[in-house]
Symmetry: C2
Subunit: 233 residues, 2 copies
């Protein structure tokens, strides 16, 4: 029995073998289906999944081409910090360091980008593993979009966990970087001299409205983020 996985692997192999170099047109779904003796739906699923990884590009009428700049992609899981710590067999600790409500203004541009004048909830908290600082979280929440956040007791629940449960979002964006820590980072994460921080910045929207911005700082020398691969063969 030929399945969509078989077709996917076969096409992947033929691309890697050089049969279809970058830029080349691969056979249409109908031709692939005929060649492998399946329904078109089966070939469709195979090639659709290859397109999702970026290996090929599809356009109606124009057909399916092998992508030129074969960048690789990786699926990075960004765990909830509590789960990450507990999964490592360590004791999770949490502290709310600061909570303010600010009018949305210049300070938030490029981060939350709130509507002019809309109030912003600014939180700073620390996540610990076995009592040792693990992640420093600076967060902005748009109270116009998420009014309920005003009344949540964030000394008991971390904003991450509350938001995941309470607030839907439709789009998010991440930036990963290495940085020299700020003075705050240095003190709160108890960094060694010269130790950098690994930063994850995430912005989240519901439709066009910004929901939350967060900066997650990890001690660089003690943090690595791994990914499973995304291409497959």
């Amino acid at each position: 029995m030929t399945g969509y996985r078989d077709i996917k692997e076969a096409v992947l192999r033929r691309i890697h073998a050089g049969e279809w170099p970058p830029g080349a047109l691969i056979p249409s779904e109908a031709d692939l289906a005929a060649e492998y003796g399946t329904a078109r739906g089966t070939a469709n699923r195979a090639i659709r999944e290859l397109a999702e990884t970026g290996l090929v590009e599809r356009r109606r009428r124009a057909g399916t081409r092998v992508t030129h700049r074969a960048g690789r992609s990786a699926l990075v899981a960004i765990p909830i910090v509590r789960a990450e710590i507990e999964a490592a067999g360590r004791r999770y600790g949490y502290a709310l360091l600061d909570r303010r409500i600010e009018p949305g203004d210049q300070r938030h541009i490029g981060r939350l980008d709130p509507q002019a004048g809309a109030p912003v909830l600014a939180l700073t908290c620390l996540h610990l593993a076995d009592g040792e600082p693990h992640q420093l979280e600076d967060r902005l929440i748009g109270l116009d979009v998420v009014p309920d956040a005003r009344d949540v007791d964030f000394t008991a629940t971390s904003p991450n966990e509350w938001l995941v449960r309470a607030v839907p979002y439709s789009r998010s964006e991440h930036i990963f970087s290495a940085a020299t820590p700020t003075e705050d980072d240095r003190g709160r994460l108890r960094l060694r001299p010269d130790e950098p921080v690994f930063l994850i910045e995430r912005r989240t929207w519901l439709g066009a409205k910004p929901v939350t911005w967060v900066r997650l700082a990890h001690p660089g020398a003690r943090y690595r983020m791994a990914s499973r691969d995304h291409d497959a063969a």
Copy 2:
């Protein structure tokens, strides 16, 4: 017309609205199909895609449940450095700094993990943007798996580009981290004092055999890696 996207959004909304809290069972494909007046295949695709993002978990006979710890995931594109630089409108430059062939031994454990005694090609090269150091590449290639690499002129072609074109792989793994630069990093990337490096380490296999290991170091203060989102609504 109700499409798989409609069902996907509807289910997403109902989960976020609290109708099905984490751990709850959502209706079977057949029930959803009946509810929304579609074929089962349509409901299948909707829920399958939600499962791919990790929002729900599916098991035969047991049904589909809302995931408990809904970690988020992001799809990170790792571009070929040349394309990345040229896409930014900068001039690409490349230099091979070092090339050695070494017997596979202790030094490579945890990186390439070559078969005992198999020769390893070790390359160091620098990628520049407008003449400024952009990425320092340290690479190991298993010559037992990729014998052709021995005869390639890597002063003309960067190993990244050659490998992408010439060698298939079946699995890869990435680690992202922030680090204090080594003395080599500092000199070759012309780092400012206290400037950290952003590291990408990638290991690639063909079946069970290690193909290549690479460490890509970027000046932290000048490098950010962005991702598109992977969850969708």
